[in-house]
Symmetry: C2
Subunit: 337 residues, 2 copies
Amino acid sequence: MKARLVDVAREAGVSPKTVSNYLNGYPFMSERTTERVRAAIDKLDYVPNQSARTLRTGKIGIIGVALPNLQAPYFGELAALLTEAAEQRGYTLLIDQTGGDLDRELRAVRGIGPQALDGLILSPLKLAAEDVSAARDAQPLVVLGEWTHPAGVPYVGVDNVAAARAATQHLLSLDRRRIAAIGTISDTPRGTWGVRITGYRDALTTAGLATDERLEPRVANFHFDQGASAMSRLLDLPERPDAVFCFSDMLAIGALSVLHRQGVRVPDDVAVMGWDDITQAQYAWPPLTSVRAQTDVVARTAVDYLLRQIDDQPIEQTDQYVDFEIVVRDSTIGRAA
Amino acid sequence: MKARLVDVAREAGVSPKTVSNYLNGYPFMSERTTERVRAAIDKLDYVPNQSARTLRTGKIGIIGVALPNLQAPYFGELAALLTEAAEQRGYTLLIDQTGGDLDRELRAVRGIGPQALDGLILSPLKLAAEDVSAARDAQPLVVLGEWTHPAGVPYVGVDNVAAARAATQHLLSLDRRRIAAIGTISDTPRGTWGVRITGYRDALTTAGLATDERLEPRVANFHFDQGASAMSRLLDLPERPDAVFCFSDMLAIGALSVLHRQGVRVPDDVAVMGWDDITQAQYAWPPLTSVRAQTDVVARTAVDYLLRQIDDQPIEQTDQYVDFEIVVRDSTIGRAA
């Protein structure tokens, strides 16, 4: 016979209300009680009646996150942290991969399926602020990333101009004077690369150095192959750079592979740094200096802002900027590879 | 005023039935018609009435995939391919990240939320065959991975014993005789590492070589740090290995970082190979030899098997094994790093 909620309560030695709180992800519950309820659910093989829960609360206990691309390790790590943060608040997180495609971003922001999700965390690449404004009544919404979001939509991100300035200053502090930036995507600075190139140019100008378009090679995106081809073009210049600031660790790892192949010493001849501090930055050769944002704080704050909207609770400050640091490793200061 | 389905049909110059077919992901539609309907939907900013669709077909157009860990690039790449395959069939794919946690795998297999998904593709780490048998009535199901799945549940995978044998034979063909395997997790061969160690031992035995437990160091999982620590232990052996077969590219990249740090030449002193052929295998230093399965075929077949179940269509062969190849790069045959 199928176990009921009261059976779980009896087995765990708690009230049915406590079991119900557990199932609804009520946050203020002792670890001991949580453990007992979980053990009872396991033992009795109890499956909560989700339909009843939906009717009672009007919520289904599922939130979504729309991310551009899970092939990029940064988004894989972000997805893991968001899943954990949602889980801690009693929600299941489902991930919608948009491929940075406008159609799919639009579909996500307008609501995936009939009441499939209670709300959405969105990390858009193509969506304009107007699209988000227009769709924000469809469901509770939080926006991530480097992006001109509409006023009133809760946002969590990093001050990218300041972080890019700090990254460039790190290279300047090592007496590098011909510092290239890999990450320029088009003529008009916009989105992620736009704020990062602004910070990079700021730092050069402040240090009394001229910016030089030849040191800002174009890429199509932030992936390995683009870092490799941009680095090849930089090595073909009559005067090579002595440092490269890459706008993602993937670009930097691609650049490193070309430097190794051509026998260029890192960091002696060319210092290399990335952005994101993905796990493999530590396992690159040489280990990669990188810009690290507090991605765990981004994840927890985004989930909190979304659940507050779902529960009709206020959000004091809707634009939240988290801290960053420059994690220094061998690729800029260490022994040569 | 909100555009209706008939408005889209008029704009595209097709019948309303054709638009409906498009929205329901009917596969037999010319690219030209598909393009016209899509353009009309874009132009009129048409949002399909999902609730009506659900009532009509009993389906919501969303399928799920439960994956252990998106921080592992292999699963990120698989998620991208599955998203694409689902999209091509007119379905949205949502990803549930289980963390390889038994509770979350159980919850996924029993159905996420009230009718939130039409079906599930499951890549389990912890789930027993009985759990899947018991839950298979909850929703249409397809199983991926290296795993003893219950009879009658459609499965897509790779012959891991054969692939591990071929990988080891590649190292034997290069006259390596002291070949280590990084990936052993416990005493009892089970799951992914169990089938791979079996193939590795098979190849050694066939070549007349003894297996040696010291050459099979334990790891907790298939991540970078585990590859690094296992490699350190191998280098501490009185007689070092001359080759290492790692059961994931992440393990291999971790192993490479330790070899570099200790000044061991790859492949001259130690040849290194991985498994998965993730994108960064090409950008490792030296570029990494790896076992590559046809992951795109896995993704398309898994989606096809799931949609057949959803549409009550037959599946001729429920256990589908896709091909693999050994992608040979510098880490086993190339110039030294």
